[in-house]
Subunit: 194 residues, 4 copies
């Protein structure tokens, strides 16, 4: 009984997210309308809000799963053997996160939850990112005088900085990756090697 009921719930939820994905692939994230999603999913508006606290909660999930998919690919990579290789490995993630200003804003807003119990998909990916990056930091050609975790968090900080600048007229002549690389060299290479 309970199982059957859950199946129905999951199905409805899946129809909603599927409809949302369709809308987004056609119009982008910023233009997604709840009304349009429920219309396509063939469910009532009330149902939407029974499944998602608000529109942002759906965005959190959809963007979170995209980030996770990209991280799944990252995880398959061998530890990058050079800074340019590292930048290359990070590029798909940065590309997605900056695909729309709206997406980047959602990500920033959800990067940290105010309440521990409210930690959502996007916030989780920030932790996962560190877990993926940390082992890469142990490569011998990189500095080894900091903990892998801290080095990884530094990479994260430089990435966010580079992405934020990409929306800025003063800096968007340089491509994202080009802007990141010199900082990572300075951050990650043993001194005297960069």
């Amino acid at each position: 009984m309970t199982t059957a009921v859950q199946a129905r719930t999951l199905k409805t939820r899946a129809r909603l997210t599927e409809a949302a994905r369709d809308v987004i692939s056609e119009t982008g994230y910023a233009a997604m309308r709840v009304e349009e999603v429920v219309r396509r999913a063939g469910v009532a508006k009330g149902t939407f809000f029974a499944h998602f606290r608000d529109k942002d909660a759906l965005m959190d999930q959809l963007i979170g799963e995209r980030i996770n998919a990209i991280m799944d690919d990252m995880e398959q990579l061998p530890p990058p053997s050079s800074i340019p290789a590292l930048v290359n490995a990070l590029t798909p993630l940065m590309r997605f996160m900056t695909c729309e200003r709206y997406v980047f804003e959602i990500i920033l807003r959800h990067s940290g939850a105010a309440e521990k119990k409210e930690v959502g998909p996007i916030a989780m990916t920030f932790g996962r990112f560190i877990e993926i990056l940390s082992p890469w930091m142990k490569t011998s050609h990189l500095r080894q005088d900091g903990s892998p975790g801290m080095l990884a968090e530094g990479v994260q900080a430089f990435m966010i900085n580079a992405m934020a600048l990409s929306f800025c007229a003063l800096h968007n002549d340089t491509p994202l990756e080009g802007r990141l690389q010199p900082y990572l060299e300075l951050w990650l290479l043993p001194q005297g090697k960069n």
Copy 2:
């Protein structure tokens, strides 16, 4: 005549900003409503938009002037002679920038202007910050293998990262400054010295 008119214009503008400061000191930045500002200033709503392109332009100015006041103090300081001293010097700025989530978001949004000609007060402070910090980077106890500008930008990136984390339940057990210090040590000290 022109002078008289300009004087009136400046006065109206001053009344608007003054009213806005009052509202903010009572309710905070996020709760500021244009309606309330014009009510207190005793002018019509349309007048507000004759003086400010939009609400954000006022916010840009108000937050920018606060940041500049803090930077005026920073500028008086001698180059910090240690990482903890540097962190101390940066703390007032970080305190203000994280006083409200909304303020932090405004700052991020305005850190880079979409159009070069639209570089506003907040965006200016980002440049000024680098200018203040760069000379500090030349201190002999810090690494000298990167340009002062890049080192300063790195400090900026770590600050933003630390501030972003301060809104996050998973990390806000550590105070802002404590979170920043180890990263700056790793970023700024000659390797082998931290």
Copy 3:
């Protein structure tokens, strides 16, 4: 200036009420939708709520003005010379008030305002009704041992009672007026005359 602005305001308000009247004449009161009213009036939804606190406030006005129109007619009548004549005089009002259950419920709900400053059109008509009826109570064929005002309020009480019963299966075989008459006889005639 102020006059011109007020004229515009009044015009918009008039368009809204006019549109509402149209909708009601076509579909009845209960079926009136705010959305439809603003659509027909050619104004934005926000404008509706700038003019009326809520849908009920518009209903209050529309129903109030209908009641007032009926009372305008009542006011032209000479004091009824018999109970049946009195009942006849009251019938148009009762007919309208019971035209829809929804209308009767609105009237009851608005008959008394919780706050004095919130006394709206419908509540006002209750006072006006007493003022119209009171002089009628001075007719010589009616009992004169109570104040006209009290006698009038009694008539009001019996009317409301009769109207409430008209929505009731147990009583709606008798027409409204027939139900009212015996009570008014007992209430208004000198004893021994009914």
Copy 4:
């Protein structure tokens, strides 16, 4: 078996009404939500509607039983020997009926059923009220030129009127009973005696 099943049915129903009474005693009638009732009763929402046609049916029952309890007390009273005594006898009923605006509205709405077969608890109390009051109308100090039933119905009308006014800012300076008494004197006393 049938007995067992019926027992379970009755038990569920009892749990629902009991839960509803709890909710009402804590939050009042108007704030009662079906959701909260079923939560407390530990049953599913659908179960509620297997036991009660709709929410109003439960309200009808709960309010009806309260009115009946008050009428049980009224029935014990000897016929009031004066108008003030009569008013006193009616006061507990009026107090309850005006405890919440919502309650008064429910009572009015249910005072007459739309369908004869749907005469519910509240509607029944209206009949019972007349039955209790009618004998009281035969007291020698009251007018005897109207049937006891009609006199009783008049009392009912005046009570409802007084109660309706109690929700009105314009009239709620006078207490309920004070507002009722002069009308009953005029309605019930032989003319020349009031």
